[in-house]
């Protein structure tokens, strides 16, 4: 319990620091929401009036404290550019990004775990070596580039999906999930390749340990040793890695959203930064930070469950 409390406190402080940095960053970059809203019809007088109206003239610390207070109570303010409440805007975008991330994660697990074990088991065979090479290549290609290749091959040449024809989950859940499959593959492939490599070497390393020899000497078959003993132990470093990967994929999906024209959090974040729509950008960054920190927190807890020796 003490452990969880400590982790929760760290989580809170991290979120505070992240949001404070965001606040400062917006102060440093040139331009403000007012010049964006007024565009080419801006005059000094109008700029001053609108700044006053939006409360941009108040000191930064005051604005920050108010923002934190409101955020804590679930009020994220109103978007400057859309006039809508930030909460309602994000409420429709978060499911998209989360679904994409979760789908990618499931793909990583589905592909890498069987394949990793398979490769370890048939380490000496030529096809295992071939998979190694393919793995190495996949690993080194960034996901947005995989996305571009997939769009070209499956979208424009084979026409398995229509680039840009994103279907909102409110219109059709099946269409929505269908459109997300290729983006999810783009995110998953490089990560899956890394996981395969890690799992394979982990299984092989475990396989050389004494307890494995003992297990064999007791008359167990290869499969029995592998699944009953080696697998469980080999999985610990992989879980750590998958945790980090999941957090990484939340951020990675933002880039892939651009490639596949998916109107999720990513697109909203990028445009809200360029239009200086502070309330939106701050809320998105704070939420992403919370998600990433939460995942790390869950991984920590998971360790404790798998290996009770970890206490701090």
């Amino acid at each position: 319990m003490k452990y969880i409390g400590k982790k929760l406190a760290t989580m809170l402080i991290t979120v505070l620091i992240v949001t404070m940095l965001v606040f400062l960053a917006f102060r440093v970059i040139p331009g403000d929401p007012v010049s964006n809203m007024l565009g080419t019809s801006a005059t000094e007088e109008k700029v001053a009036n609108l700044r006053e109206q939006l409360g941009l003239n108040r000191p930064l610390p005051v604005r920050y404290i108010e923002w934190v207070r409101d955020f804590f109570f679930g009020d994220m303010g109103k978007s400057y550019t859309y006039g809508m409440s930030v909460k309602s805007m994000l409420a429709s975008k978060i499911p998209i990004t989360i679904t994409l991330t979760v789908m990618s994660f499931i793909l990583v697990v589905l592909i890498s775990i069987p394949l990793g074990i398979y490769c370890a088991k048939h380490e000496d065979k030529w096809y295992s070596k071939a998979i190694d090479v393919i793995n190495q290549i996949t690993m080194s290609v960034p996901s947005f580039f995989v996305g571009m290749i997939i769009t070209y091959i499956f979208g424009l040449v084979l026409r398995w999906f229509r680039p840009g024809a994103f279907v909102n989950y409110k219109t059709s859940v099946v269409g929505f999930l269908g459109y997300l499959i290729f983006p999810a593959i783009s995110i998953a492939l490089p990560k899956a390749a890394m996981t395969v490599k890690l799992l394979k070497s982990s299984v092989l390393k475990e396989g050389k340990l004494d307890y494995v020899r003992t297990a064999y000497s007791r008359g167990n078959s290869t499969d029995q040793v592998l699944y009953k003993h080696v697998f469980k132990n080999a999985l610990i470093p992989v879980i750590t890695f998958l945790g980090v990967t999941l957090a990484d994929m939340v951020a990675g999906s933002i880039i892939v959203e651009q490639v596949f024209s998916i109107p999720g959090l990513g697109r909203l974040l990028i445009t809200s930064i360029s239009t200086r729509d502070y309330p939106v950008a701050q809320a998105i960054i704070a939420i992403i930070a919370c998600i990433v920190i939460f995942i790390n927190f869950m991984v920590d807890i998971l360790y404790k469950v798998i290996d009770p020796r970890i206490s701090k």
Binding site: S41, L50, G83, L110, V174, G178, I181, S274
Partner: protein, 502 residues
Amino acid sequence: MRKRLLLILTVLLTLTIALGGCSGRKAGDSSKIVVGIPQDLEDSLDPHKATAAGTREVLFNVYEGLLKPDENGDLIPAVAKEYEVSDDGFTYKFILREGVKFHDGTPVTAEDVKYSLEKSAGMTGEETLIAAFSNIKEVNIVSDSEVDVVLKENDVDFPAYAASVNASIIPKANTASDTNPIGTGPYKYVSRSPQENIIMESFDDYWGEKASIKNLEFKIESGDSMIMDLKGGSIDMCARISATQIAQLGDGFDIHEGSMNLVQALYLNNKVKPFDDVRVRQAMCYATDTQEILDLAFEGYGSPIGSQMFPSFGKYYMPELENKYPVDVEKAKKLLADAGYPDGFDMTITVPSNYIPHVDTAQVLVEQLKKVGIKATIDQVEWNTWLSDVYTGRKFESTVIGVDASSLTADALLGRFYSSADNNFTNYSNPEYDKLYEESRKTLDDDKRTELYKQMETLLAEDAANVYIQDMAEFVPMNKKFEGYTFYPLYVQDIAKIKIKE
């Protein structure tokens, strides 16, 4: 285990193919058009607050003023059936069309007209940001179908303002015009999803010719994916595509060619050294080879211009200024030497990085200016930085940008060079120009005014206020299913005129 793995992979693959086939629109849903737009409406859905040209072109389908422009640039009646001007030119009497309804079904009343005009003029106390009608003294309801507008000063351009999107008639009862737009146009607003789309539907009670296509979606697309999405079929048309992008498109599209109605120029800050010297500015004009810019950056398309006016403005446009400064490196060098810069100078061209055509133009300009000894460097900035530093702050040396006309008036283009104009971002100042401009404001006779405008254009060219380049060509690729795309001399998209081919 191997079997199970195989099973999982097979299921996954089948699912991929099956679901992949489900995405996109159903066949037979033909009464729908998806229009790609490069940016979301980021200022407001309230027509009186819409500042961006990209917002106005979308809202054009939802809102109407008392009058509206047609494709020839003439003003045609809309919410008003007709109007009369008093002899002294101060009072405009608008007679409202009968049976015009708002999208919520309520009829347009004289009350709504008064409210809209006053709101747009900034008289209701609410900040309007545009003040299209700052010249209005009062709006009087004469009867249920008649409204008198009294002006502070004489202004023959008043009907043109009354036809702009910023002067649209909206219902007084709507308190949330920012997020729930209600107008009288051929399409009514249904919903929006930020950075995704804006959905509209044809308005069945429209007073004029109803829109042919029932469902309209404006889909927000970033520049590069636009072409890919056109090819893939998830958008049916989009405007303002460059010649280079058209080349990537291939078959399957009808390509409509028009012009952007922008004055693209290397705008110079006339207040900072060395651009405060007319000889330097002229030298730069002589150094610039417009045709080369068109050939290198625009595949040869575009119309060269010589002053702050584009060809669609028929009677005001002066083709003779196009070749005011023929390419002449020697002359340019001599002018620079006379001005005290025999070895040229260093300068910065600030360009908004999201406008690729302007960036490309700047790159060609750098090479051309090099020939006369001017070492220009390009500083690419974000659009927002451009707005605050260059446009509002006027802290720049030069910039490549296209300036549009917010209404169908010569004033919209020429007014910004009046010394004390709010939007005179180039800090141009010439007492002679100011005098001509003031006179044009007072002159009611159309021919005389046109003459004054032409003198102003000539003056801008002679002073080499800016290095005028071109009115860029615009391409509109449209899926072959559709027809009826109409170009306007304004920055608008009229979707109501588009039909499905028989």
